[in-house]
């Protein structure tokens, strides 16, 4: 047994430990794309909220801050503004998931790591728990008219999901999660600027993080 065998042994130990417990095929590019979709969504949402006559078929929201609870919830939840915002939100989510799936599948193939294996399942379960909890909570709160909590709650639950997920993929994702949580707290502290914080957290941060990951791991 010579020197090179020792080093090969160590490299294979390290490789197996990482690949068996972490899903390292997440694509950095998909982060960048998700960020771009989020920014487009935020611009559309902004227009829906602040120039409603142009974009919501003449519907005018009640006077005052559109983030705060107004009127009874039946009136609110079925208002064209809210429906349009929900439509934009789900559009962004769907586009981001689809792109993420396609790019990650491509990278997994290149790495020879199973797209639907032990590690990706663990990662998905870890993320789904806080995300579904947050998702249902937010939808119920919207239906009660608590629109001001949407942005901070989205950021907070997403941040927690990322911090949890860092055990099952690149550890760097933890820092993205912590940034999202800090933004969530700021968004809660400054009501009325929710959309701005949301756009920064889901748009700008994703683009920055995605670019860093792309440079670090995808090449």
């Amino acid at each position: 047994m010579e020197d090179s065998k020792l080093h090969e042994d160590l490299a294979s130990i390290r490789n197996m430990m990482e690949r068996s417990s972490k899903f390292i095929s997440l694509s950095g590019l998909s982060g960048i794309m998700a960020g771009i979709y989020a920014l487009i969504g935020a611009v559309l949402a902004y227009k829906t909220l602040y120039e409603p006559s142009k974009y919501t078929f003449g519907y005018e929201p009640q006077a005052g801050n559109p983030y705060l609870q107004t009127g009874v919830w039946e009136e609110l939840i079925f208002s064209p503004t809210i429906l349009q915002l929900l439509f934009i939100a789900f559009g962004v989510l769907f586009a981001a998931l689809l792109t993420g799936y396609a790019l990650t599948a491509r990278k997994a193939k290149k790495h020879g790591q199973a797209l639907w294996g032990k590690t990706s399942k663990a990662l998905l379960f870890q993320m789904a728990t806080p995300l579904l909890t947050g998702g249902f909570l937010i939808i119920i709160l919207i239906s009660r008219g608590y629109l001001g909590v949407v942005s901070p709650a989205c950021l907070a639950f997403y941040g927690l999901a990322l911090v949890g997920a860092s055990a099952y993929t690149f550890t760097d994702i933890r820092y993205l999660g912590i940034c999202e949580i800090i933004l969530a707290i700021l968004a809660a502290a400054f009501p009325g600027y929710g959309l701005l914080f949301w756009a920064f957290g889901f748009g700008v941060l994703h683009i920055v993080y995605g670019s860093l990951m792309h440079l670090k791991y995808d090449r």
């Binding site: 080093h7 042994d9 130990i13 068996s20 199973a114 294996g117």
Partner: protein, 100 residues
């Protein structure tokens, strides 16, 4: 340069066995199919190496059913974990000596 290879564990001379133990060190348990996908080896190769590790009592086998499909899970035993750690330490020593 005096290098002592005697401290290296013979059971881990085989690369597949070394890799199996690496996986079981960082995961509570791992099933046969996932191991096969990860290591990219044939059924027969994996099975014979698992058997060798089992014979050394380095791993334990847990058979169960998922629906109607048999599912075999493997876990590192305390003895196996110690053997692997000792092997790693021996590797480290060897590499340090060779650098001198």
């Amino acid at each position: 340069m005096k290098v002592d290879f005697s401290k290296l564990d013979k059971a881990f001379e085989n690369r597949v066995r070394l890799q199996i133990m690496s996986v079981l060190m960082v995961n509570e348990s791992y099933d046969f199919t996932s191991l096969k996908d990860l290591l990219d080896v044939t059924d027969g190769n994996l099975a014979s190496n698992l058997k060798a590790l089992e014979k050394e009592e380095y791993i334990t086998i847990h058979k169960s059913f998922v629906g109607k499909k048999p599912n075999t899970n493997y876990q590192a035993s305390a003895k196996g974990k110690k053997a692997f750690t000792d092997h790693l330490n021996a590797l480290e020593q060897l590499i340090k000596q060779q650098k001198k």
